[in-house]
Subunit: 373 residues, 2 copies
Amino acid sequence: MNSNTPTFTDLVSSLPASVPFVGPETLERKRGKSFDARIGANESAFGISPAAQKAMQQALQQNGCSWYGDPENFELRQELAKMHGVQNDEICVDAGIDSLLGLSVRMLVEPGAAVVTSLGAYPTFAYHVAGFGGKLITVPYLDNHEDPQALLAQASDCDARIIYFSNPDNPMGTSHPAQRVQQLIDDLPPGCVLALDEAYAEFAHHSLTPAIDTSNPQVIRYRTFSKAYGMAGMRIGYVIANRELISGFNKIRNHFAVNRLAQIGALASLRDNEFLPQVKQRVEAGRQRIYGMADELGLSYLQSSTNFVAVDLGDGDRTRWFLEALTDRGVFIRMPGVAPLSRYIRVGVGTASEHEQFESVFRQLLSESATTA
Amino acid sequence: MNSNTPTFTDLVSSLPASVPFVGPETLERKRGKSFDARIGANESAFGISPAAQKAMQQALQQNGCSWYGDPENFELRQELAKMHGVQNDEICVDAGIDSLLGLSVRMLVEPGAAVVTSLGAYPTFAYHVAGFGGKLITVPYLDNHEDPQALLAQASDCDARIIYFSNPDNPMGTSHPAQRVQQLIDDLPPGCVLALDEAYAEFAHHSLTPAIDTSNPQVIRYRTFSKAYGMAGMRIGYVIANRELISGFNKIRNHFAVNRLAQIGALASLRDNEFLPQVKQRVEAGRQRIYGMADELGLSYLQSSTNFVAVDLGDGDRTRWFLEALTDRGVFIRMPGVAPLSRYIRVGVGTASEHEQFESVFRQLLSESATTA
């Protein structure tokens, strides 16, 4: 670099060259071959709605790729508003929750202002807080659950602008009942927004989602087509919030961010009443299968409200050993990054063949580790 | 809103509720029916590469929508690097140039710092400068071309962090030869980055793009699959720059921003050697047709290096009248937003039937305006 070299802003200069997640493709390039089972990114193993498939296929044939998507995401918002019993202007659609979390931090957090989350919670949220100069303050999980009480106390203490809270939780898969979340909402300190990530809400047994109340200007609900709807690769999600908050998103978002096929697929998914119940059933069956395997192997695990199950391997070093060995033998899987959560390995519900692949390698590793112990 | 109401950052509070562009779908909803010709957003009328179509179709059938895209965009960067004769880590792929412009401003422009562009140039760039608190300073076009001399002088005066320059230019369609652009690069003030938007580069007769030199830390080249490759609806574009600059993008971008189908389609497009020459030919034929029509009607126009032609209607009020009347009668079209550029209407190269539709309505309006004049 010569002396003419432009400089980054102080903030960007100060950021580390980190990434929230290493993708499975990166690991595949390192191994020199593809994974046999891809159960590490909480993607859906059960595809997309046939209606969405058909609609996107048609759009693809009719040259729907060449036109920009509707920057207002109007039809989709209309359908979502109907479904959630809110107004169109209480919804903002964007290219996935990751992007919406970035926008949330950008619009609410001045550099140096505090943001509260749980230690070990979603790394991409932490990435955005750092990226906009916020000060991330964490509280520990309590018995593998996010701890509303501790989050609230910390938020009060540090005058937090945002509490990030995912329910059901990622990476643990645990959840709180709707009533407990409502209490968290009711107890929010003045001026603090609850970023309520409900990416996995559709997988829960019972509703974990308190009634949506867009008159409350302190809550943003994050929803996605990436999980139960199986459209992670299409990049589309949305927030539901008070219209004042939505107006903030609209002031800074990339208006043409959502791809046209995703808009078409998402709309078709919503209008397909049969798909989601089937996915939920298959995910439930997949969880039971993981529970059954763990029971048989004498491993404890956490009851999951998501499409993955945290299985207890005793401690972080041991989990990391399993993770690396599984990766070596063709199973893409992840684990929580920090103790004490890192004693668990996060087993995604895969297809039947992915589960078999995982279980076979996992059993083998268990017996190898027993022999060497 | 109650007294608990959270507040936006000062910057976001100060932003107007504006959007860079009103989408054609918004206008269609207002009219209550679809447009017959969509020639206003510089989208391609000639579709996507058959290879891309096939690859995406296959991915769609094989459930490629359910997996996140590779956050490294590795294969695509590798192919692009080969094509441009640069290294993988001198390229950053993201969900379109709009997003990359936002990231550029975010990483280079401290609040209050100056950025220079031409008066009437790309509104989305201006939107991002405002969105990150930069101070946008404009210089006039010179004879309907961006004016490198004036941009440089202004950048020196105000210690600009970025000069935004599109070549070929949008909205005028004019261009500068490679040599002139190289001169602009050579004369950049220290610490100033040239954001060189080459979205339309493929449509030019002769190469307007100076040799790519990634050893120069002051230039970012923006390329896209939205225009000649016909993939506007898929959201994928990239920058080529010095690896130091690329490292900045990587520190703040949404790593999973690009949808998987777009990655697959873009890669297949690059490997299809036949598609692009055909598109260029058809665009050239379309331009000739617009020139021919204008000649016949006694209207002057600008020689275009893009997939649209600026046709002179005399003054902004008259252009606006035409634009509204065209919109009413089923033709989606746009015009430059500010004088003196606004005397031109921007006629996109459409399909044959779109052109006929436009030409028929346009001729009708010309005769109506002659009668009423």
